[in-house]
């Protein structure tokens, strides 16, 4: 599995890793979405593309997760996946563009698990070693 959950007494920590930066962002999103929904109950009929910018890669990762939470609430969607479009270095840091996939939320069809309030800066880290990109952060649930 490209992601795992870390023990945190009040919240849930996630660890996402992949050989590419794109892949690590996608894994992180899936780790979070898998906490919220039973992903097997979601089919893909809609997609929304978004962009976020922050000072460094770890902060951009958190911003991405928080933007996905916003999209779920704002558009009442059940999301199953993030596809990274591009990660670009900018004057202010990094710009991440991605597309989330899912369908309109339906209480009857979708199995929901836990509400994630926010991705936080707690336990936040980004490391690149031995050809792997690894993000860790704590989600407030």
């Amino acid at each position: 599995m490209p992601y795992s959950y870390l023990e945190h007494i009040s919240d849930v920590g996630i660890r996402a890793e992949a050989e590419t930066l794109d892949g690590a962002f996608e894994s992180g999103a899936e780790a979070m979405l898998n906490l919220i929904f039973d992903l097997s109950t979601i089919t893909v009929t809609e997609d929304i593309t978004f962009g976020v910018e922050a000072g460094d890669l770890a902060l951009t990762f958190v911003e991405t997760l928080n933007e996905i939470l916003f999209i779920i609430d704002r558009h009442s969607l059940a999301l199953t996946k993030l596809k990274a479009v591009q990660i670009k270095q900018t004057d202010g840091g990094y710009l991440f563009t991605g597309t989330v996939l899912g369908e309109p939320f339906d209480l009857e069809k979708h199995t929901v698990k836990t509400e994630v309030k926010a991705a936080t800066y707690s336990g936040l880290s980004y490391k690149e070693s031995e050809g792997k990109h690894v993000f860790e952060c704590v989600l407030d649930v």
């Binding site: 870390l6 945190h8 007494i9 919240d11 920590g13 936080t120």
Partner: protein, 494 residues
């Protein structure tokens, strides 16, 4: 980047059996103070040793980290339900001088003004026992709960702005509540200086259909009965007696609050660098209260606070109507005991060494607990102090406590907010299955309704600390006093 500050070892000294101190060392500006028994301190020190390398910050370190922030007054405090949070520990209280102190997102949390309100019914346990399945079904149908739930009240952005300023009153003006509800809500259901222009469109867009929804996680609506009274005069003042049925509603500001936290975490991260505030933990980013960023965040938090009051007010209305449908009770016979907040920062006046000082008090998973005589306490309760509503778990008990003078002197009039987790959600899900928990509690006479079985497992009673012990510590320390213990009959889980 955050400025690194020197780490130091943690020492915990006993002051009394229930009060402990982390002495001032290194960069700490004030000592840390904990309400705990010997066993809790042993557990916390164990966590400290073990988790030092685990990537997460142990709660004792979090108490010491907060003690390093500029402008902190007297002590960095932790209530008896202390456990690791992000930045501040849960159960953490930090008061900052309004002139040279800071404001921190981690001191408030993402679920701004998450809190508990308790409604009193004229019913007894005997009235409810035969109909509790029907009542559970009605409440589950009428009060939206769980991930993705939406409320009956849909708002346009201009209406949201009005709600963020007016709080509970906005909801009552639309016919959802009684005027007297305002008297029995902390801050009368709305803090002043709430500025919607400092809340993002993102935050408002997330909220427009969530007013009057419970949310999920540890949020709940419980029908309870008063099992024991410990303090007769206070119980009389609060209007509760043995055998009476009460209703507890635990929820917060929903997505609006979460988004305010998310937005300002980023803004205060930049502010920390701009003002050169040394910080030990990235999550502890903050801004001077008196800076533009600090003022904007404070006035946005005030909006979040008002949003949560409005939310609990809307849910109270739905609850009253559900009760009226299945019992012989009229909605206006169900009266509000009190509504307390436990994720806030508020400007308050406190006596510091004989001098009244204006402070910004952060309470993260801690409740305001003002003692007798404070003008903020409703007149009917002023003789005995503010009621505190401490949630247990769905299978155990909850408590109604009161604030004391000692609490005013020792900890800025603060209290525990709940049992506090003892086990992670991941661990809880490994150990229990939601369906088993529901059956087990049914055998104990407690009816659970929830959309999420996984959520029930995460919130299993065994995943929490013993609420009796947590309350006993505060009671014995003299900062909160026990008034009544209540036991659940029906629990609607978010």
């Amino acid at each position: 980047m955050v400025t690194p500050v020197k780490e130091s070892a943690i020492e915990v000294r006993r002051i009394t059996d229930y009060t402990w101190e982390i002495p001032r060392t290194g960069d700490m500006r004030v000592p840390g103070r904990l309400y705990a028994d010997k066993e809790t301190v042993r557990e916390l020190l164990g966590d400290y040793e073990e988790k030092k390398v685990g990537g997460f910050t142990p709660a004792l370190r979090q108490v010491a980290n907060v003690a390093c922030l500029p402008g902190i007054v007297k002590a960095s405090l932790a209530m008896a339900d202390i456990h690791p949070g992000y930045g501040f520990c849960i159960g953490g209280v930090g008061a900052f001088d309004i002139e040279d102190g800071v404001i921190s997102v981690a001191g408030v949390g993402f679920d701004i003004n998450c809190g508990v309100r308790v409604l009193k019914t004229p019913l007894t346990r005997e009235d409810i026992e035969p109909i509790k399945e029907t009542l559970a079904n009605q409440l589950f149908r009428d009060v939206p709960s769980g991930v993705g739930s939406t409320g009956e009240i849909r708002l346009k952005e201009a209406e949201i702005d009005e709600l963020l300023v007016k709080g509970s009153r906005f909801v009552i003006e639309r016919g959802f509540g009684l005027d007297e509800d305002l008297e029995y809500t902390e801050e009368n259901g709305a803090v002043k200086d709430a500025r919607p222009e400092n809340v993002s469109h993102h935050a408002k867009e997330r909220q427009f259909k969530q007013v009057g929804t419970l949310g999920s996680g540890n949020h709940y609506l419980e029908v309870q009965w008063v099992e024991e009274i410990f303090d007769e005069p206070a119980a009389r003042a609060y209007g509760i007696e043995r055998g009476q049925v009460v209703i507890a509603i635990h929820c917060g500001s929903r997505a609006l609050g979460h988004q305010i936290g998310t937005d300002y975490l980023k803004i205060l991260e930049e502010a920390s660098r701009k003002y050169g505030i040394p910080i030990r933990d990235r999550e502890l980013v903050c801004a001077p209260i008196n800076s533009e960023e600090g003022r904007r965040y404070l006035t946005a938090v005030n909006c979040g606070i008002n949003c949560a009051f409005a939310n609990r007010q809307a849910i109270s209305h739905l609850t009253r109507m559900a009760f009226a449908r299945v019992t012989a009770t009229r909605p206006e016979e169900i009266r509000l005991l009190y509504d307390v907040a436990h994720n806030t920062c508020k400007i308050e006046d406190h006596d510091i060494n004989g001098e009244v000082k204006r402070l910004l008090v952060h309470r993260k998973g801690a409740t305001r607990a003002f003692g007798p005589g404070r003008k903020e306490v409703p007149a009917a309760y002023r003789g005995v102090g503010q009621p505190l509503l401490v949630g247990g778990t769905m299978g155990t008990v909850s408590y109604i406590l009161r604030g004391t003078e000692k609490g005013m002197e020792d900890c800025f009039g603060s209290a525990v907010h709940g049992a506090g987790r003892a086990m992670s959600r991941v661990q809880a899900k490994r150990r229990w299955r939601g369906t088993d928990i529901i059956l087990e509690l049914k055998e104990k006479g407690i009816i659970i309704r929830s959309r999420s079985k996984a959520g029930v497992a995460e919130e299993a009673p065994g995943a929490y600390k013993d609420v009796d012990r947590v309350v006993e510590i505060m009671h014995n320390a003299g900062v909160n006093r026990k008034v009544a213990r209540v036991r659940p009959l029906v629990c609607i889980k978010g």
